[in-house]
């Protein structure tokens, strides 16, 4: 059945209060933002909480501030994806970010879903994102309750998939976030927020509240996000490539490529990047470099679409994202 379990619902007004309530509520407490990830997961009983600390009323977590070219643009964690998508400043300074945001789920879900929630989205897997009845029939897996991993039965770890659309892009462009806990604040690169483990997929501690996203100075670089999914809306990425290129005339000064949807964290296409860095821009080079992303895209049989297909699509999507950045 798909009903929410019972829980206590808290409505703090400030970030400090939210962090305090969480710390006082014991281990079975969580923040909830738009709830578009957490509530469906709770209905299917693969995530649980006795206390939910809603961030909906925390005004300081909302809104877009600062100046893109000056490198001071920040977005509150509770800003909805829809607000970002529609913001003319973000559209002008960070069009690739809007590309990624607009590809998340559907318009209705973007009205509720927040950027904070999107960055912290639970990893996904065909054996995990199922009802309790389904999981009981096949037997529960390691990520929730069970002993084994159905995707890789011999493996000691979980391979659930990083499935947020904004993550590969924000990693690639070098965005950062602020995390707040009773012990104080820290700022980390989005690139450093994730771990290669489907269960403990975040480096963020459970008691930390994500308060703001900091975007890099806009202007001297270009970026792109290319997503593979079955339908024109709603579907999670089964492959999502975020690419960032800084040019120096006809040369590629620096480049970052992150591949989402094919691992428990965004995959760094390091060999692709190394081949391009410092080189003159040519179509052949981009093609050859993109081919090198085939190997690191280790697709597993736990999303929609087929394993070899997703793997073979990775270099194509990487090439297309890079070509878009380079105007090829």
């Amino acid at each position: 059945m798909l009903r929410l379990p019972t829980f206590r619902y808290h409505r703090p007004r400030t970030a400090a209060e939210a962090v305090r309530i969480l710390a006082e509520s014991g281990p079975k407490a969580r923040f909830v933002a738009g709830g578009t990830d957490l509530y469906p997961n709770m209905k299917r009983r693969h995530q649980s909480a006795e206390h939910l600390i809603s961030l909906a009323r925390v005004e300081e977590l909302r809104g877009i501030d600062g100046d893109g070219p000056a490198g001071t643009c920040t977005i509150g964690a509770m800003t909805t994806l829809r607000e970002i998508e529609r913001d003319p400043r973000i559209g002008a300074w960070y069009p690739a970010f809007v590309q990624a945001v607009a590809s998340v789920s559907s318009p209705l879900l973007r009205n509720m879903g927040t950027i904070g929630g999107n960055l912290l989205l639970d990893t996904r897997c065909n054996y995990y994102n199922q009802t309790e009845e389904w999981r009981a029939s096949i037997d529960f897996c390691m990520k929730e309750r069970g002993p084994i991993c159905w995707v890789a039965p011999g493996s000691p770890r979980c391979y659930a998939v990083q499935s947020s659309d904004t993550v590969p892009l924000l990693c690639a462009i070098g965005a950062e976030v602020t995390l707040l806990s009773p012990g104080g604040e820290r700022r980390v690169a989005v690139d450093d927020l994730y771990r290669d483990d489907g269960i403990a997929y975040l480096t963020k501690r459970p008691d930390e509240l994500l308060t703001r996203v900091h975007l890099p100075a806009s202007g001297a670089w270009s970026a792109a996000y290319h997503k593979l999914r079955r339908r024109g809306s709603i579907d999670f990425p089964v492959l999502g490539v975020g690419a960032w290129v800084a040019r120096d005339g006809e040369r590629i000064a620096d480049v970052r490529v992150r591949i989402g949807g094919v691992g428990s964290m965004p995959i760094h296409a390091t060999e692709t990047e190394a081949m391009l860095r410092g080189q003159p821009v040519t179509e052949e080079l981009v093609r050859a470099a993109a081919e090198l992303s085939f190997k690191p895209a280790r697709t597993m049989d736990n999303t929609d679409s087929e394993v070899p297909y997703r793997k073979k699509m990775a270099p194509i999507f990487v090439r297309r994202a890079l070509s878009e950045c380079l105007g090829l």
Binding site: M1, R3, S137, R231, G232, I234, Y309
Partner: protein
């Protein structure tokens, strides 16, 4: 040639008395053909329609079913003690309390309400719990301990053949083969010998499901008079009534079935279901009303969707594309129960003959039991998969012969008024006009084969029944009955057992009666689908309702008109033949000032004859197919459809978009053009879902010697079905080749237009990038695989390579009409009757 008389002529007041009126010119009609709103439209859009899940009764309790977690297992024991002890639990029901079996077809009554000693798929119901609230009922279900002894899992037709024991059921043709069919019409070997081109292809059509918006729900109430009333989202209240009578072992007269408006059905609500029977039994057991609403996951378990079918088709044609012979083989993965499966098996061979002339035809079909949710009828029942194969095959033939696929089809259309090789009678036949429309609309002649690489056009055609010629259980009674009550206020109430599943059948009743009696259809009262109040209609399946209830309603209305006209003629002193019924009045055609309002006319009639009420009924004409198995396929009339799909394929990834579709459907006559358009476009949408992504796929894993086998994605997020954004522009043409058997010439529109979409997509892919996708759905992954295979010098194709080897039973040999056949089978070793002139 068997000269079959129109069987309907033996009914009072039907064709011979002009009740079908297929030739009435459009300008003489006031209601029929107009795009009026549905009679229940306002209730629907204002959210006041009483779906089954909206209902509640005082003291009502909630029931949940515990379903099997095992794909195939013996039940050693069931311990309900913990569940029974839970506060709030008011009743527990086990299979042993309901030993009688049920099932939609009399030949496969193989279902228990709750499993007794065996479970056959993950999702098979095992126990039912009623409680004061749904959460408690569910928690109590989970507290029931079932001890299972696993049995070998049978996951596919190949495994069913390889594993005759253990049998999933102890009936069927052999081992785990549910049914074999072998029918031979003419001599295919001779046909192949006389052909210029013979080719054979193997196709696979993956199963998919109906996905109605409304999840099944019911409310059962066993009252103090020992009568049970069930409200349910069912398409077939009459068949549910029969099943309940059998399982509850109660007289039919003590059971009342009311079909609520369905929030979509598409065939998924046309079997009697476990939860319906269990709710009635539970209500009887505990003496309280019992509500049961299924979750989406449970709807996937109820299934009865499209069978996965593996097909081999060998065709022989002359240089101009004329089909000399077709040898067709289908293997149906039936799932765990019979359902409509025997009929589905015959349907995979029935309608290959009604679109193009076909001289020699051989059909073999086999249905297998597997440990999956049971398959059954989905929109286009059983004819969809072979149509995919046939239309793809014809496209290949046209390509081999260097012919235009549209021209080739046009040249060899089946002929109006003729009997086909398998004794289906073609009535009206507007396929030619349909093809011409989509060819002209799409710019086919100028654009096919000439678009840049990556873009293409594909064409396919199809046909579907306007109602099955035979009922599901053998009987000689009408298939549809309508009763009219004329009140002295002028109100006409129409009673009919038909079920509105969103298709507009209530509206059709209103339009038909309103047309005949000159009334406003919005002012009639329509009472439907209540076994206590309404005469039997067999149900909303096989596209039968408009034709059959339409004819029955027309007959009832004509009879009412007779009575009223007799009284008015006397009152106004005008000859009866001069009277016209229109604008809620009865007029003298010669002098319209001599008139009465309809209410006054009813008063006159009631004064003269007493209370005014009439009945009408309909039974299809007798079929010419007299051989065993010939009961599946005959219909009063066949609808026809042609479609052209335009596609844009990314040759590097196989990803594609469909910018536009042209579809033309021969509906005979549209009773309501807006509803017909809605059905056509809805069919296109559903067909596109099947063509592009929908798959009822199974997860098959083994771990430490245990095999788990269950539905891959029983949710609306992961069972991929297209969204509004995925819907292309559709250009719809309504073709009206009035059929003598339909009310004002009407045929079906609800299923036929779905059929050509899948093959048209496959054919368009070929035009765009030169690869054949012989497996449906036609996914980007499959296109990509075919393109890669082609690039590496392999087959430019994705599809299965062969079908399982089967020891077929001896064929039933039926000489086609042009070989002197009379529709009956002859002994297979008997010499074929001498040929009496060729056909065509």
């Amino acid at each position: 040639m068997a000269a079959e008389s129109n069987g309907a002529a033996n009914q009072p007041g039907t064709a011979d008395q002009g009740y079908y009126r297929h030739d009435t010119p459009q300008q003489d009609l006031r209601v029929i053909g107009k795009p009026l709103r549905k009679v229940d439209a306002r209730t629907k859009v204002t959210g006041r329609t009483g779906y089954a899940d909206n209902l509640s009764l005082p003291r009502m309790v909630y029931m949940k079913l515990l379903r099997s977690t095992q794909a195939h297992a013996r039940i050693r024991s069931i311990d309900t003690s913990a569940a029974a002890a839970m506060p709030g639990v008011v009743g527990i029901l086990l299979g042993s309390e309901l030993p009688n079996q049920f099932g939609i077809l009399p030949v496969s009554n193989d279902e228990h309400t709750l499993a007794i000693d065996r479970v056959r798929f993950v999702g098979d119901p095992v126990a039912a719990v009623a409680a004061l609230d749904e959460e408690t009922a569910w928690a109590a279900c989970r507290a029931i301990v079932v001890d299972y002894e696993p049995l070998p899992v049978i996951g596919s037709p190949a495994e069913a053949l390889a594993t005759p024991e253990p049998r999933i059921h102890d009936y069927g043709d052999e081992g785990n083969v549910h049914k074999y069919v072998n029918l031979q019409f003419g001599d295919v070997e001779r046909g192949f010998a006389e052909s210029d081109l013979v080719r054979q292809d193997v196709f696979f059509f993956e199963g998919n499901t109906h996905l109605p918006m409304e999840q099944h729900a019911c409310l059962a109430d066993y009252d103090k008079d020992h009568k049970v009333t069930i409200h349910s989202s069912t398409q077939t209240p009459h068949y549910l009534h029969k099943a309940l009578t059998k399982v509850l072992a109660m007289p039919a007269s003590n059971i009342r079935v009311i079909a609520c408006p369905n929030g979509g059905g598409f065939g998924g609500k046309s079997d009697p279901f476990n939860h319906e029977v269990a709710a009635c039994a539970m209500s009887r057991k505990i003496g309280r009303p019992v509500k049961c609403s299924l979750t989406r996951e449970e709807v996937f378990h109820c299934h009865r969707g499209r069978h996965p079918v593996l097909m081999k088709a060998k065709i022989g044609v002359r240089k101009d594309g004329e089909i000399q012979a077709l040898d067709f083989e289908s293997h149906l993965d039936g799932g765990a129960f019979g359902s409509y499966g025997v009929a589905s098996t015959f349907y995979t061979g029935a309608l290959q003959t009604v679109t193009y002339q076909l001289k020699n035809y051989h059909f073999r079909g086999a249905r297998y039991f597997t440990n999956k949710a049971p398959c059954g009828p989905k929109r286009g029942h059983g004819t969809v998969q072979p149509r995919f194969a046939l239309e793809c095959l014809l496209d290949k033939v046209a390509c081999d012969l260097d012919l235009d696929p549209a021209e080739m089809r046009l040249r060899h259309l089946a002929k109006r008024g003729e009997l086909t090789a398998n004794f289906m009678r073609i009535g009206s036949m507007g396929l030619g006009e349909c093809i011409e429309k989509v060819v002209a609309g799409s710019g086919w002649k100028e654009r096919r084969g000439k678009l840049p690489f990556g873009r293409g056009l594909g064409l396919a055609c199809s046909s579907y029944l306007s109602g099955a010629g035979l009922p599901i259980y053998w009987n000689a009674m009408p298939h549809s009955g309508v009763q009219l009550q004329l009140d002295r206020s002028g109100l006409v109430t129409v009673f009919c057992g038909s079920t509105d599943i969103g298709q507009g059948s209530m509206s059709v009743l209103a339009y038909v009666v309103a047309e005949v009696l000159g009334l406003d259809p919005m002012k009639l009262r329509i009472v439907t689908a209540d076994t206590d109040l309404t005469p039997v209609d067999l149900g909303s399946y096989s596209s039968r309702v408009t034709l059959m209830t339409g004819n029955a309603a027309m007959q009832a209305a004509e009879r009412a008109k007779e009575i009223v006209a007799a009284a008015v003629a006397e009152k106004l002193e005008v000859p009866k033949s001069n009277l016209v019924f229109a604008d809620e009045h009865v007029f003298d055609a010669a002098d319209p000032s001599r008139r009465m309002s309809f209410a006054e006319a009813v008063i006159a009639a009631e004064a003269k004859f007493g209370t005014v009420g009439t009945v009408g009924s309909y039974k299809p004409p007798r079929s010419a197919a007299r051989f065993k198995g010939g009961g599946v396929g005959p219909s009063p009339s066949y609808s026809y459809t042609a479609a052209v799909v335009e596609i844009e394929v990314d040759p590097e990834t196989g990803q594609y978009t469909i910018p536009k579709i042209w579809v033309a459907h021969d509906v005979g006559r549209s009773i309501n053009a807006a509803l017909v358009m809605g059905q056509i476009e809805g069919s296109v949408y559903m067909g596109l879902g099947e063509a592009t992504m929908e798959e009822s796929a199974y997860r098959d894993r083994s771990h430490k010697g245990k095999r788990v086998f269950l539905h891959n994605q029983p949710s609306m997020l992961d069972y991929k079905s297209p969204l509004a954004v995925d819907m292309p522009e559709v250009v719809t043409y309504i073709v009206e080749d009035h059929d003598p058997n339909g009310p004002w010439g009407a045929k079906e529109a609800g299923q036929g237009p779905l059929l050509p979409i899948m093959p048209a997509v496959a054919n368009a892919v070929f035009d765009a990038v030169g690869v054949r996708i012989d497996t449906n759905p036609i996914t980007p992954e499959r296109i990509f695989a075919a393109l890669q295979s082609k690039a590496k010098g392999g087959e430019a194709r994705f599809g299965p390579s062969d079908v399982p080897a089967v020891a077929w039973p001896e064929p039933r040999v039926v000489p086609p009409p042009w070989e002197g056949g009379d529709g009956k089978e002859v002994a297979s070793d008997a010499p074929a009757p001498t040929r009496s002139g060729g056909k065509g």
